[in-house]
Symmetry: C2
Subunit: 366 residues, 2 copies
């Protein structure tokens, strides 16, 4: 790996922060940031705001104007070399006469993968890569998952008490966490391509699963609402059917699909696996719909199945400051986990207080 | 309340930090710190290290020597005015000629309560109080509880998974948390006058419940081991009976007590309340044994009873980074809590990572 100076790390960190500005809008594209530096000074910067609009590099070149000549470009992702919805970036960087490029990570998208770098090098531009690669990968975990694994990054959100209860046994559960945590969930929704839930949650809570926080500008985009509903019990009165955006209902028997189709929903039939909907097939379908990140807001059965089938990538657990005790429902129903060895190890990537609640972000360990 | 300068707050904060040095040794006395300041400079400081040894004020006066004359004394607790195991401090401060005293909180101990302050004022020394009073009360929460409520401060420790499980349904549970969390529990033990557990835990795990971390100097003191054992099922082979220190077994029927007495244990008969041992009576007995702080390291039944009877003051929850699922045992068995309104609200006073685990410290809210 090439050596990088502290100043270079700072420029790349800046490019990553710029990239993150596209968190609610770049979908389904990756978030990308670009910083152009000449003589140790930033002469232009940009990020990719929305699909169909200019890429980060183009915005940075425009900001730099003639100062781009001889500059070093700090790029959070390999520049594209293919004609997509917009003209490719590698030729634009070459035409602008940049002297050097530092790239955080290779673009895994098949039409790019190494070609962008090769195009720069063929034009005599020195390219070094790998600076802050891990952070760049975390930033675009969803995009990478879709391109490399053919399924979205699966983030499971749970709201519980400090002792891990999500509801009383009776089902009583309203407002376990506080307003700050609920606002935080809105941010998780806004960065997701789809929200996944089960028919049980729909029947019990009739959730809208939409982005409704006015401070979150998704340019009007609403995440797809994906409902696991083997036997198509989805009522036509479900609130989400009347909301802007797309509702996809996954079932194993679609004989009764017509009324839902008439109500504007998509109905997708998937195989049955281990007595329930084939979740892998559901995730593949969502990837085909260009979903990078799925947020799961479901009950213990669905969340537990995703966990037990090792399809969950990240857990976001909000714990409210109270003890609900033993006559309660657990976060994850895992009927097959009978021994301690069955447990799912995690590593905690973030821990903080959100209002009077705690938020724990954890990813799967092997 | 008197007004205090930032410098005075810093001196009192220093006195509180000094007081805390007695955390493992001052027992059963309160932790106390004293800082003597003349012309803005600290001329002497001290803390109370162990019962029967010099109080904080005496140590500070000794360090200051002649410089104590005209100094302001910052005291985390009202100085004693009664002859205890050592001569009283208020007269010593007067004899040394201090000019002023700033006291964080009044000593609630009946033989002192206001008399220390009165003695200083009678000698012409100006006394102001209330500076950092809350922190002083938190520091000596155990001592205050024993003196004011006639029972110790009850701290319940739980080790669970992120989803609140303490064991599999089978009971399988070893090593849920990591070595750093277990070392942290040693610190909780070392600051406690007693460790409380149930006979179920004794029979299942045969815990030693002792302080065994070599870095924790309790001057050889071991917390009392208190076992709730209604029908005296405690086996004579229990490891704790062979350990240095005192084991107290609480029962409702002491007919079979002789073998345990012969093994060196104390056996205390208490009333039966709501089908189980009268926990209030157990706590009163522990207070009579000069226990300020009780650490509860028990199973869901005992911890749940303390919680349901509102006898727990603080929870220290260690959560290990894994999900154990639904076929597990909960932290607290609360069979009577059937509605959400039954839950126990808390406020979180501390949140941090301990090794790869999380530690949540929470106190009861009303």
């Amino acid at each position: 790996m090439a050596e990088f100076s502290a100043a270079e790390s700072a420029f790349m960190a800046r490019a990553l922060r710029l990239a993150e500005r596209g968190v609610y809008t770049a979908h389904p594209n990756p978030m990308v940031g670009c910083v152009l530096v000449r003589d140790g000074e930033i002469v232009g910067e940009g990020w990719h705001e929305a699909a169909g609009e200019a890429h980060a590099e183009i915005n940075a070149l425009q900001a730099a104007g003639a100062k781009a000549r001889g500059a070093t470009a700090y790029l959070t992702l390999e520049p594209c070399s293919h004609e997509g919805r917009t003209p490719p970036c590698a030729p634009a960087l070459i035409d602008a006469g940049i002297g050097e490029a530092v790239i955080a990570m290779e673009d895994p998208f098949p039409a790019v993968r190494g070609n962008g770098r090769a195009a720069l090098e063929a034009a005599g531009i020195a390219v070094r890569s790998g600076l802050m690669q891990e952070a760049a990968k975390v930033l675009n975990a969803g995009f990478l998952s879709r391109v490399q694994r053919g399924r979205p990054f699966v983030r499971v959100k749970v709201a519980s008490s400090l002792d891990g209860a999500i509801a009383m046994k009776s089902g009583e559960s309203q407002w376990i966490t506080g307003p700050e945590a609920r606002a935080d969930v809105q941010r998780l929704r806004a960065r997701s391509g789809a929200i996944l839930t089960g028919i049980g949650t729909v029947l019990a809570d009739d959730p809208a699963l939409n982005v409704r926080h006015e401070d979150l500008d998704t340019r009007g985009r609403q995440p797809i609402r994906a409902v696991l509903d083997s036997r198509l019990r989805m009522p036509l009165s479900a609130g989400m059917l009347g909301m802007p955006g797309t509702t996809v209902v996954y079932c194993t028997d679609d004989a009764g699909r017509q009324p839902l189709l008439d109500a504007g929903a998509h109905v997708v039939r998937v195989a049955r696996a281990a007595g329930v909907l084939d979740l892998q097939q559901v995730l593949t379908d969502l990837a085909d719909r260009e979903v990078n990140d799925v947020l799961v807001e479901a009950g213990p059965a669905v969340s537990g199945q995703l966990l037990a089938q090792r399809l969950a990538d990240e857990l976001v657990i909000y714990q409210a400051p109270h003890i609900m005790g033993s006559e309660t429902r657990p976060m994850f129903a895992t009927p097959a986990w009978m021994r301690l060895a069955d447990r799912q190890p995690l590593h905690i990537v973030d821990l903080r207080r959100v209002g009077s609640d705690i938020r724990i972000t954890a990813r799967m360990s092997d």
